[in-house]
């Protein structure tokens, strides 16, 4: 490799969970992946009047925060609450807090829009004379990017460092980097990392204004791909140092690579220069050669330019034989939650010998040279690389592997 990057000590994903339109918790998510089921539906969200498909999580509106969290009430925190209740995640955090002390556990949550929907709704209720927002509107605990990290640290009774990482669609991949550094610097012994992003009008109308939304369910890497489908998700992992005596199917975070395109605010570098650097750095941090990766979970948003640029970057690092796919045809693009959601999908791939085929894609674009798989493959998966790229040219690649 042409450059050196610091190697990192692996971390153990002691617990992990994800809630998206394909499932609430690990088992339903795995079942959907095995069935190649997509959760995308025609958009009927709120008062949105756009010809597009979305990945909406059922039951978010009906989820209630505990009474003492009234100020935090918004769709984003309800989605966080719903996801927290799956797979015994809260109990695992409680156990970690008992072991390490609540001050020694950090909270690192990626989000792009947090609870901005609350402000969008409040703007409709402005006082006709003064223009003031309704008295009931709370900015800090709903709209502000930190609101979801603040909600989670309080909900989980954690008193260590807490922060929101907001780097557009790479946000919840980059949280793994922040947590890893704090653990390595011995500021903390464990970290709750994750991503939460929920449907709102800013992203639906915003991506529409950039003509980046497909009218159909998105088709990553398809010849006819014509844009994204916006989804929502919350996904969390509890990270700790690697203990002795792990089961062979325990999941480890092996490498992280981050880079910036230094090219354009909303378009990827045409040859995927930044993406390539992120993948190479992740391999270098993990001390692995490209051939050690069995499956790549692509960023794969299904816009013509994103997929082309990512395919070039993947090919330049891995060649044309490493199986890869995007699960966004199933989940939609969950924006700031995508990194964490796809980390969990990667972990499920490792534990279940599954390379998930890309849902919705009918005809793989022959000009995209990466080895895109449409059908599920059942074969041992020892290491997975997951890509997340965002507006502003921010890139993050993560490598996960089985303990044995």
């Amino acid at each position: 490799m042409s450059f050196r990057a610091a190697s990192m000590s692996p971390l153990f994903l002691k617990e992990f969970t994800a809630t998206s339109c394909i499932g609430q918790g690990r088992e339903p998510t795995l079942r959907s992946l095995l069935e190649k089921r997509s959760g995308l539906t025609a958009c009927a969200f709120e008062t949105v009047n756009l010809d597009t498909h979305i990945g909406e999580v059922a039951g978010v509106d009906a989820t209630r925060l505990p009474a003492e969290f009234g100020r935090f009430d918004c769709r984003n925190n309800r989605l966080a609450e719903l996801a927290l209740r799956q797979d015994g995640f809260m109990a695992a955090v409680e156990e970690a807090a008992a072991r390490w002390g609540s001050r020694r556990i950090g909270v690192f949550i990626g989000t792009s829009t947090a609870g901005i929907l609350q402000t969008e709704l409040a703007y409709r209720e402005r006082d006709p004379v003064s223009g003031a927002l309704p008295a009931s509107f709370e900015y800090g605990t709903t709209h502000n990017s930190f609101s979801v990290a603040d909600f989670l640290r309080r909900r989980l009774h954690l008193t260590g460092p807490a922060v929101a990482v907001s780097c557009a669609c790479a946000s919840s991949a980059k949280v793994f980097g922040s947590a890893r550094r704090m653990i390595e610097a011995n500021m903390i012994d464990a970290a709750v990392v994750g991503g939460v992003d929920s449907l709102c009008l800013t992203t639906l109308y915003g991506f529409h204004s950039l003509q980046l939304c497909s009218a159909l369910p998105c088709r990553p890497f398809d010849t006819a791909r014509d844009g994204i489908s916006i989804g929502e998700a919350a996904a969390f992992a509890l990270l700790e140092r690697v203990p002795d005596g792990l089961n062979s199917d325990a999941v480890l975070l092996l490498g992280i690579g981050e880079s910036s395109d230094a090219y354009h605010m909303s378009a990827p570098h045409p040859e995927g220069r930044g993406a390539r650097r992120a993948m190479q750095s992740a391999l270098s941090a993990a001390g692995l050669e490209p051939g050690a990766i069995d499956y790549i979970n692509l960023h794969g948003t299904a816009t013509p330019s994103n997929d082309r640029s990512e395919s070039q970057a993947v090919t330049s690092v891995f060649g044309v034989t490493t199986p890869c796919s995007s699960t966004k045809g199933a989940t939609g693009h969950t924006l700031g939650a995508a990194g964490a959601l796809e980390a969990v999908i990667g972990a499920l791939a490792l534990q279940n010998a599954l390379m998930p085929g890309g849902a919705q894609t009918a005809h793989v674009d022959p000009t995209l040279t990466a080895c895109y798989i449409r059908d599920n493959r059942r074969a041992p998966v020892a290491r997975v690389l997951s890509n997340s790229f965002g507006f502003g040219g921010t890139n993050c690649s993560l490598i996960f592997g089985r303990a044995g």
């Binding site: 610091a6 703007y123 990482v165 390595e184 910036s260 395109d261 230094a262 507006f391 921010t394």
Partner: protein, 263 residues
């Protein structure tokens, strides 16, 4: 976690540079609060320059000042950006448009709405391809950025640029989040002492009384803009006075910074 401060940039109400701020904070010059003057980001191409909002101008200006002072090449630096709210004016325009019948958002407004817009423009302007992260911790954003930056320097042993910056929301959000003006501070943090290093800082978390500023107006600035929560540390550096300073962080923990001067 420790690092050397090897360059500083400051811009805010009544502060037009770090030397100016240092003169005020050390009492050599009176504090005269006046609206923050943001320079045009000449680093950016004219088309991009027109698209940038106040927070981007602010972040780029303080980052450049800090890099120049440290003699660092901006394009080679890793960076940590931390802001409590991003571009409030842009956010207001989007929410306003979405409340009207047509719901038309301009593509540029949407691209600029991401919290990492300033980091994106910085990397485009300087050609910085290194890792860059963008954080938010509401009122705790300064210390959240400092802790992330110190962890990076400690673990990766490389120089890094930390930029804490905030600007105001217009009405009606302003009434709910009354940040009065723009304030930014940037620091070049290095793992080792270098020519021009001002001080070594080491941070720990504890629950201790936060350092306040004796001057009423400076204290008002510290409290009203999250990025200005660094002022007690800047004051110590300006006074050339080593020792402990306690910066406001979360309700459950403050950040104790031990400042040891380099000469």
């Amino acid at each position: 976690m420790a690092a050397y401060i090897s360059g500083i940039g400051v811009l805010g109400p009544g502060f037009d540079s770090w030397p100016h701020a240092a003169a005020v904070l050390s009492g050599r010059r009176a504090y005269e609060p006046k609206p923050t003057i943001l320079p045009m980001p000449t680093l950016l191409a004219p088309t991009e320059r027109r698209r940038t909002g106040r927070v981007v101008k602010l972040a780029l200006a303080v980052a450049l000042e800090a890099a120049a002072q440290a003699g660092a090449e901006p394009g080679e630096l890793k960076s940590v950006f931390s802001s409590s709210g991003g571009d409030g004016h842009n956010c207001h325009e989007i929410c306003l448009s979405l409340s009207l019948a047509g719901r038309e958002i301009s593509p540029t407004r949407f691209s600029n709405s991401v919290h990492n817009a300033a980091a994106g423009y910085w990397s485009i302007a300087t050609g910085a391809e290194r890792e860059s992260t963008v954080l938010c911790a509401f009122d705790a954003s300064f210390c959240a950025g400092l802790l992330e930056a110190l962890a990076q320097v400690a673990v990766d042993e490389e120089a890094l640029l930390l930029i804490a910056y905030d600007s105001e929301y217009p009405e009606p959000i302003h009434a709910k989040r009354p940040i009065p003006d723009a304030f930014g501070a940037a620091f070049i943090l290095t793992p080792h002492r270098q020519a021009g290093s001002l001080a070594r800082i080491e941070a720990t978390l504890a629950r201790e009384p936060v350092d306040l500023l004796a001057d009423r107006e400076l204290e008002a600035l510290r409290v009203s803009i999250p990025a200005a929560r660094c002022l007690p540390m800047l004051r110590r550096l300006a006074m050339r006075e080593g020792g402990r300073t306690v910066l406001e962080y979360l309700d459950v923990a403050d950040t104790v910074v031990q400042v040891d001067l380099c000469n």
